[in-house]
């Protein structure tokens, strides 16, 4: 695909040129960087170092109306779902882009999920080469790479004064066309510079784990008493799952407030005891031990069984944000060494 050069000081012009798109970008809100719809390119915060939440919610929102019930309680699909404006998500880290790759088969296979898929198809991901990974990043251990274009439509690499812009997909090409006015061609030197940066990127990842054979270890030691030790600190909150770019579990609830009745899907977390609680009171995963084990099983065994890859992109958020320091990488190492 094509390569371009974008002068940093013309980035706003580039974004403004995308007027046929709704542009989502990281913005700073109350001391927090979150992906939101922006109306002015200046709102974008291109500090990739501080993204406690992945852009997952742009396509798979935390609360989403599935059905609307009218006065007679007949179910209708919500208006506005069809024929949405295409979206651009700007400032995506390569790991988070891979996250969408992990979500895709879940929502595509067997019973295609129109809510996710429509948005996914009409959303374009513009990513940044990740030059300054978090201390807890371990993407290279789970098949990722800080400069990986996987899952992205366009990848930008910071060359100092310019961005090196790689078009990855045909969707990306369309965007490059719309912003063509501010794009130029890179020199071969810049090309080399970019490649050099890509080559260096993996070395910046400081946490590693050899995931080879983890799946079988998890299965083999499923009833090991060690799981209890690993989960001792866990307080069953939803931080790890809600900030995870690949977690997709949801709850479906009918809600009625002020006469508005909807069926919604809302993120759920396998860390919550209620998640598997039967109405009878029986709970197949009654304690943190079973739940933490299930999460690791899901990511590093079930996902491989189902889709051939671990359900983890190594973004490290669950480690960084865990209030009690439950450390996925450390835990994997414990299992690995069993």
């Amino acid at each position: 695909m094509e390569h371009f050069l974008l002068e940093k000081n013309r980035l706003n012009e580039f974004l403004s040129a995308l007027r046929n798109y709704e542009v989502f970008a990281p913005v700073r809100k109350v001391g927090l960087t979150v992906f939101e719809l922006i109306t002015n390119p200046k709102e974008a915060m291109l500090d990739l170092k501080n993204q406690p939440q992945s852009p997952k919610r742009v396509i798979f929102p935390q609360s989403e109306i599935l059905l609307v019930f009218d006065k007679n309680n007949a179910a209708k699909e919500p208006k506005g779902r069809v024929g949405q404006k295409p979206q651009v998500v700007f400032g995506v880290r390569p790991c988070d882009a891979r996250g969408f790759h992990m979500l895709d088969p879940v929502f595509e296979r067997e019973y295609p999920d129109p809510y996710y898929l429509q948005k996914r198809q009409s959303t374009l991901l513009v990513g940044f080469h990740c030059s300054e990974p978090y201390p807890n990043c371990f993407c290279t251990s789970v098949g990722g790479n800080p400069s990986s274009p996987e899952g992205l439509d366009i990848l930008l690499t910071d060359l100092g004064e310019q961005y090196f812009l790689e078009v990855i997909t045909s969707k990306g090409e369309q965007v490059a066309k719309e912003g063509a006015a501010v794009l130029s061609s890179p020199t071969s030197q810049q090309q080399t510079e970019k490649e050099k940066l890509s080559g260096m990127a993996p070395q910046k990842i400081r946490r590693t784990i050899d995931t080879e054979g983890i799946a079988s270890k998890i299965e083999k030691h499923f009833d090991h008493s060690l799981w209890r030790e690993l989960s001792g600190k866990c307080i069953s909150c939803g931080i790890c799952t809600y900030t995870c770019p690949t977690c997709h579990c949801f709850d479906i609830q009918d809600e009625r407030v002020r006469g508005r009745a909807n069926r919604l899907r809302i993120w759920d977390s396998c860390m919550f005891p209620e998640y598997t609680l039967h109405a009878s009171g029986h709970n197949p995963r009654p304690t943190r031990t079973e739940r933490l084990k299930n999460r690791m099983y899901h990511k590093f065994k079930q996902n491989i069984d189902l889709y051939g890859v671990p359900g983890c992109v190594g973004c490290g958020r669950c480690i960084t944000l865990c209030p009690e320091n439950v450390d996925l990488v450390a835990n994997l190492k414990v299992i690995k060494n069993l």
Binding site: R256, V257, R258, G259
Partner: protein
């Protein structure tokens, strides 16, 4: 789930301001509603018939009536439900008359509001649960605490109906304050003469078991099933043997102040409080008896041995348990301690006395055999000071003692009768002569030459051998000094000193004036807030004799209701605990005004936990517990969180 909705026109009362036809149509489309009807008068027989017929034909599970206030006809409609075989608690009423059609003029808006009220009622109705009204058996006996006139009257009324009564009096004889009085106002009958026959009736009544010289020390249980522990103090005399011959007292060498005469005279250490005492039995004062203190005197024992041999120094304090269904509290009052008003000099001058002391002085059986003699002389100038300790914020008693005005008038009359030459002055703030014959009596006394001066004396002091009462006459607007050789302080009534103790024993409340609190000041004046416990006489507030007797009879009648029906119905709106949600924090236990909740141990896995448990008999259904429960484990029947929330949600929706 099938709901029926019944909308009342109430003649034109509702229909005029609420579009009933529209409301009925609206009701039809509400969830779960099977039938919606409107009718001229839903509470009428045909109206109720409409509901009953639908319950039977459509198999309705819940009924919603939109009509007048539930405080009007909830019972009517509950009965209708019951007679149609539906649990009476499966009813919800939407108040579209008092709180809608009668208070709003705009018919459209009133109709809209009625829709909301109805929708809320329907949504709650769907969540109502059938409730059971449980019954408990009643022990056919009553306890009366206090043997003054109120306690005597209550005990006799209950006993005469055929129920066992346990009457507990802390003094050696019943009679209370009334037996100490001379004449009663305004009729001037002799107090003892009208009381002693009643006392004798008590003593002789086959249904009354009298515990004199005894106190209640513990009460457990609840209406219908109280378990009472009574402490009998030792008299050192066998009640069954003593014939009150009085020989013992003649031989007793110890003399002590006679408390019955307010220490104005002396009595022996072995004594009978007064000649007509019931029981007619002597008692030994353990604080002064030489045998009991030092064992160096056996005079009485010896003389009694020759007679009935009733003296028994081996007697010990005894605890007796009785079971009763109801309790009447008639613990009476104490006199205001006039020494807390030092300006009146009671503690300094012998000729400053209290009203009750005057009663003994004036009483033919009193220390002076009825002659008004003070310091050996008949007083020439007598001053009465009213409101001593009543209506007085400085001593913390804001209330009127209700009897002082009249007893002062009576005492002034007695002075006039016995000392025709004396000058008599009464200082008063207001004269409250509100009772039957009171005003007439007050007039009579004034005409008898008793001088009433409006003003609150500031000081009583000695000048020479006489007293001077200094006051501002607020009618004349002048400072006056009145000389006197007898000053009578109309001391007010305060709650019995043991009231707080009694209140905590029986879990009763006290009003701010420290008297026991009635369940409702207007409608339930003799009930306490605890079921099965009733109040009679001055324990509830100052009263004169007829009022005390009336309240005593009322309390007796009230307490007879459970005794005669033989069972009490436990109201259904109690709280209940979802044990699996309870974390045993005890917040509800602490919050319950009726001590109806306790923590009970249950096993959960390996751990033994405590969970709340509601005593439905004690629970009054206020729901305070439910509002302090953090885990939502304790709920009130028919007012559970989910039921209230469903109404909130329904009121929040907009309806066309």
């Amino acid at each position: 789930m099938k709901l029926g909705v019944y909308i009342c026109h109430c003649g034109v009362n509702i229909k005029a301001n609420v579009n009933v036809a529209k409301l009925t149509k609206f009701a039809e489309q509400l969830p779960r509603v099977r039938v919606a009807r409107d009718y001229l008068y839903m509470c009428s027989e045909p109206g109720q018939q409409l509901i009953k017929k639908d319950i039977e034909e459509h198999g309705l599970d819940r009924v919603v009536v939109a009509a007048c206030s539930p405080r009007m006809h909830e019972i009517t409609f509950r009965k209708a439900l019951r007679s149609a075989g539906l649990n009476p608690h499966c009813l919800e009423i939407a108040n579209i008359r008092e709180q809608c059609s009668w208070v709003h003029e705009d018919r459209m808006k009133a109709t809209q509001k009625a829709q909301k009220l109805l929708a809320a009622a329907v949504s709650k109705a769907a969540l109502l649960e059938p409730l059971e009204e449980k019954e408990v058996e009643v022990t056919p006996a009553a306890l009366v605490v206090g043997g003054g006139i109120a306690g005597i009257q209550a005990a006799l009324d209950i006993a005469d109906t055929g129920y066992k009564v346990y009457l507990v009096e802390k003094e050696p004889s019943i009679g209370g304050h009334m037996i100490q009085l001379d004449k009663t106002f305004p009729t001037l009958d002799c107090s003892a003469c009208i009381l002693t026959p009643k006392m004798a009736d008590v003593g002789n009544h086959p249904n009354i078991e009298l515990f004199s010289y005894s106190e209640v020390v513990a009460v457990k249980g609840f209406v219908g099933n109280f378990e009472v522990t009574i402490k009998k103090k030792p008299r050192y005399i066998d009640e069954t043997k003593c014939n009150a011959c009085g020989q013992c007292a003649q031989y007793c060498s110890i003399e002590v102040p006679d408390s019955f005469n307010l220490n104005l005279s002396k009595r022996k250490c072995i004594y009978i409080p007064f000649p007509q005492s019931v029981p007619a039995c002597y008692v030994i004062d353990p604080d002064h008896c030489r045998y009991l203190l030092t064992r160096d005197c056996t005079q009485c024992l010896e003389v009694c041995k020759q007679g009935t041999n009733a003296i028994d120094f081996t007697q010990k304090e005894e605890l007796v348990e009785v079971k009763v269904g109801t309790i009447v509290i008639a613990t009476g009052y104490d006199l205001f301690d006039v020494t807390t008003k030092p300006e009146y000099g009671y503690h300094l001058y012998d000729n400053v006395i209290t009203g009750l002391e005057f009663e003994r002085l004036s009483n033919a059986s009193g220390p002076t055999t009825g002659e008004i003699i003070i310091n050996g002389k008949k007083p020439k100038d007598v001053v009465f000071i009213q409101c001593v300790g009543s209506r007085d914020k400085t001593v913390g008693n804001e209330y009127c003692s209700r009897v002082c005005c009249m007893y002062t008038a009576k005492q002034a009359h007695l002075v006039r009768e016995k000392l025709p030459q004396a000058t008599i002055t009464v200082f008063y703030m207001d004269v409250r002569a509100f009772g039957k014959g009171f005003e007439e009596f007050y007039d009579r006394v004034k005409q008898e030459g008793v001088k009433y001066r409006r003003g609150n004396p500031s000081e009583v002091y000695r000048r020479g051998d006489r007293l001077v009462v200094k006051a501002e006459d607020t009618l004349q607007g002048e400072l006056v000094e009145v000389e006197a050789d007898l000053v009578v302080l109309a001391s007010g009534i305060i709650p019995n000193k043991q009231t707080a103790q009694i209140a905590s024993l029986l879990k009763l409340s006290q009003s701010p004036d420290r008297f026991l609190l009635e369940a409702h000041p207007k409608l339930r004046p003799v009930d306490s807030a605890s079921d099965g416990i009733f109040l009679a006489g001055c324990c509830q507030g100052p009263k004169d004799i007829p009022d005390s007797v009336a309240q005593a009879s009322a309390a007796a009648a009230k307490s007879l209701i459970p005794l005669s029906t033989g069972k009490v119905i436990i109201q259904a709106l109690t709280s209940f605990v979802q044990e699996s949600d309870c974390r045993g924090c005890g917040f509800c236990v602490e919050a319950c005004p009726f001590d109806a909740i306790e923590l009970r141990e249950v096993k959960r896995g390996r751990r033994v936990l405590e969970v709340a448990s509601v005593n439905e008999v004690l629970c009054k259904g206020c729901g305070v517990c439910a509002s302090v429960c953090l885990s939502g484990a304790i709920q009130q029947k028919s007012f559970a969180d989910r039921q209230i929330l469903s109404m909130v949600a329904a009121l929040g929706e907009e309806y066309a």
